[in-house]
Amino acid sequence: MAPVHDELQRTLNPTCTGASVIAMQYKTGVVVMTDRVVSYGKMARYKNVSRQYKVNDNVLVTFGGDHADFQWLQNVIERQVLLWKRFDQDIGPKALHGYLTSLLYARRCKMNPLWNTLVVAGVEEEEKNNKETSTPFIGIITQKGCAYQVKHVATGLGAFLLNQAVEDEFRKKGDELTRQEAEAVLKKALELTLYHDCVADNDFEIGRVDANEGVVLGKEQTIIGDWSIAETNCQYE
């Protein structure tokens, strides 16, 4: 028998949501791009909101989906980081990815999911204090707790539109991509979401985690796209 106040005990629908996340690995790190709008259904309700959370110098967590759930999760991650600090450890991206996977899966099993798709990006230090052995890491965790590691990823509607485009570019140079080339691919991908996703926005930020620089959060940028298509005859007859 269902509990009396079912709605009070679980998230039934996301309300304030974030759209796509696009992330890509390059030679010495990872670049992640998100836009800066909170959507309320199909309305662009709150602007200038960042969806990228810097955990520590090696890990960046970004999300798509419900903002309220992520604000709760951000606090949980912060507590976990402090727990590790008590043992003098900096949590790495793989460890955080594993922790979040368990968390999201456990919530899903209780039929009270965190309505988020998380992308954990970072640089994994294989040997402590030896930058030569650092490897870039991108891990994705879906809402149901399905998690895997990737070299490039697009979430939300971006998954339908962009994965092929990003993969094509990635296959050309693979691990040898420079940061500028990776960012150029991400910008082209954002242009595509602008054209075809109702809840995408022009203002975006590209954050990165680099083996040499640590986490560098992005500055707000705008992209407009090419609208010369509108000059052609767009009447339906």
Binding site: L12, N13, N48, V49, W115, Q143, H196, V199, W227, Q235
Partner: protein, 242 residues
């Protein structure tokens, strides 16, 4: 089309919240009468749920040289109605050897929207100029109600700018003032409404005919909105970009 059904709210985990909006129509249409004609402005986005199927649509459909119809709602329904109504209007004007008045053309649209109201999801703005009554704007929302208005907005984006339009309207606005208001209203609606976007198309219908203008976001002249600077997104002890 079953309009007695409760509003469906589907949550699809991969895509997110996916409200099935049957009544609210994904578009922004703004129109204003002025002395000598009518100015209409629209966005250019056609969406299916969260996906934009066409980003540069032309929602201003010419019916005659002095009459346009702005379409919102189901794209297929409005295209079919516009085609059929255009046929009727052309036939009448040929048989009677004079132009059909805007009022009569509106009634032709209304016949279809009203008689087939349970099968259609169409809401239009009919705007035109004739010598009898000058510039006229008629709103035909879903269901087939007809009302002549001096200034009106239609579509899902209209809710965001109704207040703006109300505050800007004055009697005896000039053509340039009307165009500026209509353009700005579309820009404001596009800024907030996810179902509206793309380019802004503005048409002026007067005695000499219809003049269509295009404002692209990547060219100057686009009615962009400058949002205020943001605050911090996370608690202030977290490192974050400003």
């Amino acid at each position: 089309m079953d309009t007695m059904r409760e509003e469906k709210r589907n949550a699809i985990p991969a895509i997110g919240y996916y409200p099935q909006e049957e009544i609210s129509t994904g578009t922004t249409l703004i129109a204003m009468e002025y002395n000598g004609g009518v100015v209409v402005g629209t966005d250019s986005r056609t969406s299916a749920g969260s996906f934009i199927t066409s980003r540069a649509t032309n929602k201003i459909t010419p019916i005659t040289d002095n009459l346009v119809v702005c379409r919102s709602g189901s794209a297929a329904d409005t295209q079919a109605i516009a085609d059929i109504a255009k046929y009727y209007i052309e036939t009448f004007s040929m048989m009677e050897n004079e132009n059909v008045t805007i009022y009569r053309a509106t009634q032709i649209f209304r016949q279809f929207l009203y008689n087939y109201r349970d099968s259609l999801s169409a809401s239009v703005l009919v705007a035109g100029y004739d010598d009898k009554l000058g510039g006229q704007l008629y709103a035909l929302p879903i269901g087939g109600f007809v009302t002549r208005q001096r200034s009106t907005a239609s579509g899902s984006g209209s809710t965001f700018v109704q207040g703006f339009l109300d505050s800007k309207w004055r009697p005896d606005l000039t053509l340039e003032e009307c165009k500026a208001i209509v353009k700005q209203a579309v820009g404001l609606a596009v800024f907030r409404d996810g179902s509206s976007g793309g380019v802004v198309r503005v048409a002026t219908i007067d005695k000499t005919g219809t003049k269509l203008e295009l404002f692209r976001p990547d060219k100057p002249g686009f009615p962009s909105v400058a949002p205020p600077k943001g605050h911090l997104s996370f608690p202030d002890h977290i490192e974050q970009s400003v």
